[in-house]
Symmetry: C2
Subunit: 293 residues, 2 copies
Amino acid sequence: MVADLNDFVYKEVLGGDPTRKSLFILLEKGEEQAVLICNKEAFEEDANLIPKWLKSAKLHLLTENDKYGNYEMALDPELNLLKTTLIYPANAFDIQKYRRQEFFILYETPEDYKNITCNYLVETKQFENLKWVYNFLDKKSEEERIIYENPDKHEGFILAPDLKWNGTNLDELYFLAVAHRRDLHSIRDLTPNELPLLENIRDECAKTIEEKYGLKKSQLKMYFHYQPTFYHLHVHIVHIKYEAPGLSCTSVLLDTVIENLKIYSDFYTKATLPFLRKENDPLYKKFVEAGRV
Amino acid sequence: MVADLNDFVYKEVLGGDPTRKSLFILLEKGEEQAVLICNKEAFEEDANLIPKWLKSAKLHLLTENDKYGNYEMALDPELNLLKTTLIYPANAFDIQKYRRQEFFILYETPEDYKNITCNYLVETKQFENLKWVYNFLDKKSEEERIIYENPDKHEGFILAPDLKWNGTNLDELYFLAVAHRRDLHSIRDLTPNELPLLENIRDECAKTIEEKYGLKKSQLKMYFHYQPTFYHLHVHIVHIKYEAPGLSCTSVLLDTVIENLKIYSDFYTKATLPFLRKENDPLYKKFVEAGRV
């Protein structure tokens, strides 16, 4: 336990996220290193708390124009806390994890999928390391978290909250629908044959979530990631407001997939699919080696 | 000018953005109302500043597990300022602007576009109120901001920084490429006939930005909005890291558009296109009236 950072020496900023107001700092204490993760806290929308911190506010005028005044506002420190994690002692792996990395966008053609991605996925056993998903589908674990199931082995799925959701704040509602079929790895494998499964997920999840949480389908984003984090077909279902970091060009809406397959049956065997990778990512390196970046 | 808020009475939270750590508060002073917009500031990554605020840090332990310690951190108020705007006196329009509104996702079929959207766009003269764009294309205004032009009237465009960009922080780089053609309103109008224009935008903008800013094409996101903010064909070009709020399901990558048109020439006349609207938006209301939500 640490009460202040006076024994630590500032070394460098490893990285951060200005949008979400976080910062990762490398510190040193003697021979040892530490990573300090700092996050500005979101405001608590608590009618008991807000008048208290407003009372402590000191305003310094920056600019003024008619009825608009821009200020810097200083608050009582205890009413404007940061949420912080100190990893100490930190090893090279910890430090690497928080070190800034550049992102790149890749465009995977069907040929790239066959020649680069698929080989990589087979080599790294991505189609095999799915025991935790099968445990879930077989109800060997997490059964209590299931809120809905369509048990059909070909057109069915299981719906459960994602672990990232605290279960109470509707603005951050996050569910996963996981298909029972085990031969579908990602949207690349989808054909019109899968339309009943996809429509079941869309319609039955919307109905279940509306009944349980009062949110309409038009208040939900239902989408696939490409590339997915794990290669067993699943759909993310989140509140329309919820913004998962870095996803803006790598999520494909379930409704878009359904419509594309209805109009062009071969869409996902012909489409070029964009995805994002960090510079140290092995799949990114394979694309670079193949001259595809 | 205001030095503290002791004369103001807290009324209610109008809205906010927990991801970006902002909050909009309604205040009252006598008969008058005020809107207070509070933003936690992003950390300045300044090696002179960070050691100073680290020195002022007081840590309160929350949980500890092996080398991971979670703390609340209190800082000197002047080293942890909020950026604040006070609108005072605020009128009903100011208040409405910051009041929380629900978002909805709509799925526009080609029939919806013809029967609902197009009628609405014509009624509200969206295809006509483009004088500012034409001034720009005719170099009657903002000429000094142009960093590249392909002057061809059919396959050319102008490239200039978006006003949202400060011109220095590369992580937030933001350009707009605006087509010279005046008969293209959005991606709905795109056919293989536009491929040379789209490929010119993609290739020439990538080249120009790489030469001027050292960023590769794979570090840029080039995309259309659907619906666009203004109905004259333009492409947003931003740093891959830059996350514009609320866009995750309404941006369509330029490369995706090009590939779709190459494979399916009629793609954008057949596709169902998703877009987001707030509950008070007139186009949203038209879709509701037509029973399409």
